[in-house]
């Protein structure tokens, strides 16, 4: 990692950590919580789909399972409302990963394009089940134990836990990228059959990656449920969730470390801000459509790759210019 990119990471982290200190308005801190939740999800989604090239469009299952784990356990265990409920966040992630194992075992039997369709189909099975089952509260949803923190700082603990999830997802992605396991996923992305022929156990690598990616998404769902206090099957098992995180990763740069974070930061905060400012929750869809046309036209590999290419090209040009100048100088001396 170069000096510049390290500086950008540190600055980004400091800015995110100071945000609720500087911007104290609860409405804006709430936007921050939602944005961080999406950043964690997009980063984690990218750790499987970006690395292997298997585009999963059923991650809302993990988000919903995480949310329902939080809701059902806190309600049925009669938990005292408060910070202790944060302990259920990792549990939500664990349950999401366990649920993902049989799903992955089925969906990963097929290759790429078919995989996309199968994940969507499995998602709808879960959504319909959640809407119709009794224990999910069906369409009227579930109300979690009410946390009576003061309105002016209610959002702040959630903000920092969500920031923790983002850091967790990012570090996990970076570690995976440096491990053999990550190299195997990238090899699968480039040529799965060739990887198999070089001894990579492609099936177990894909399944492990898939289940691991669902862990953070499940945790994010659990945190969301605790944050909003009431969940509905149609909102936690939401097909737009998958479209959103996939688009965030594409916008920022699929397969890169910073790309999904940046994509989610831009899109989710923008969407929340539009909803808050114009109290129109579908206006963003039109703007997003236009934005994506521009991205696909001008930087099809995403913002991060676009900028990185510019920087390396400029550095190469400057180096060439210096070398040329030295040659001229040497020539004139001789």
């Amino acid at each position: 990692m170069g000096h510049w990119s390290r500086a950008v990471w540190v600055l980004g982290l400091v800015a995110l950590a100071l945000f609720p200190v500087v911007v104290t308005s609860p409405a804006y801190v709430a936007i921050g919580v939602f944005t961080l939740i999406y950043m964690a999800c997009a980063s984690s989604w990218n750790m499987f789909s970006g690395y292997t090239g298997y585009i999963a469009l059923g991650s809302a299952v993990s988000y919903g399972v995480g949310a329902y784990t939080m809701a059902l356990v806190s309600i049925h265990a009669n938990m005292a409302p408060g910070a202790a409920m944060f302990w259920l966040v990792p549990l939500g992630g664990l349950v999401a990963s366990l649920v993902a194992l049989p799903i992955g075992a089925i969906a990963l039997r097929v290759r790429r394009h078919t995989f996309v369709v199968i994940t969507i189909a499995i998602f709808f099975v879960f959504q319909l089940t959640a809407i119709n089952a009794g224990f999910t509260g069906s369409t009227s949803g579930l109300i979690l134990p009410f946390i009576s923190w003061n309105e002016s700082y209610y959002n702040v603990p959630f903000y920092y836990v969500a920031l923790g999830l983002v850091i967790f997802a990012t570090i996990l992605s970076a570690l995976v990228r440096r491990s053999r396991f990550g190299l195997q996923m990238l090899a699968i992305r480039d040529d799965e059959d060739r990887a198999l022929g070089l001894g990579v156990r492609t099936t177990s690598v894909k399944l492990t990656g898939f289940a691991l990616a669902q862990f953070t998404i499940g945790m994010a769902g659990a945190l969301y449920a605790m944050f909003v206090g009431q969940i509905f099957p149609q909102f936690v098992f939401d097909p737009l969730f998958d479209v959103s995180i996939a688009l965030m990763a594409f916008l920022g740069g699929l397969g890169t470390l910073a790309g999904p974070l940046l994509g989610a930061l831009i899109l989710e905060s923008f969407q929340q801000w539009l909803t808050l400012t114009f109290s129109n929750s579908s206006l963003y869809l039109i703007l997003f459509g236009a934005l994506f046309l521009l991205v696909i036209l001008f930087m099809p590999q995403g913002i991060v790759v676009f900028i990185r290419d510019r920087v390396t090209r400029r550095a190469a040009r400057e180096k060439a210019a210096v070398a040329a100048a030295e040659t001229t100088l040497a020539g004139s001396r001789a």
Partner: protein, 256 residues
Amino acid sequence: MPILSVSGVSRAFGGVQALQDCSLEVAEGSIAGLIGPNGSGKTTLFNVVTGYVRADQGTVRFREKEITGLKPNQVFALGIGRTFQLTRIFERLSVLENMLVATQRREGWLRGLTRSKSSPEEVSTALELLDFVGIAGLAELQAGALSYGQRKLLELAYVLVADPQVILLDEPAGGVNLTLINRIAEKIRALNAQGKTFLIVEHNMEFVMSLCDRVTVMHQGSDLVSGAPEEVRRDPRVLDAYLGGGDDELEEVAGG
């Protein structure tokens, strides 16, 4: 006892009988050639041996062990490496990372998660092999930027990472210039001298005839003739096979 033996293998794709009762033996430490008109089943035979395609009938043995129906990763782990006719490399990984993908066969499932991409020994082995095929200077380059000939060399190098006993090469001399063909032939001889066994599919007759100890000619999915290069070249059935196939390789076979 042959190191690799194929006996009575058949395989149909829909109505096309790609392999029909095909048998073949490769002696340990030899360089065996596999020739035949296009569509005679050479690549399908490679696919059956390396586990990419299942045989409808027949068996494949590696030494004493039957390997029919094993998966490609299992066949590779036993010590049979292969290259592909159209080179297949990991284009968005660096040349060195391409090599490292092949180093990972001896590990358990969970160890891969916790270990870093490579140990220093693995990197130095990979660099030695890249140096052996002559592309060590390109180790940090993205593999997608390699020329066709360099890709062929990389493919040969990463098959060698796992130190296989048998190496199957699918048209190693196809589409590369004469200098490189000679370099590849030289590498094959050097590896053979170290005891590695080769089975080579190739259309370049000069390459096959000069390199191989024994040549098998395939025709319509079966093994037609096997023998020393000179015998095979003079066998009238071989000429018939190429003539019958309407293939323009006749002159090459006859003229050598």
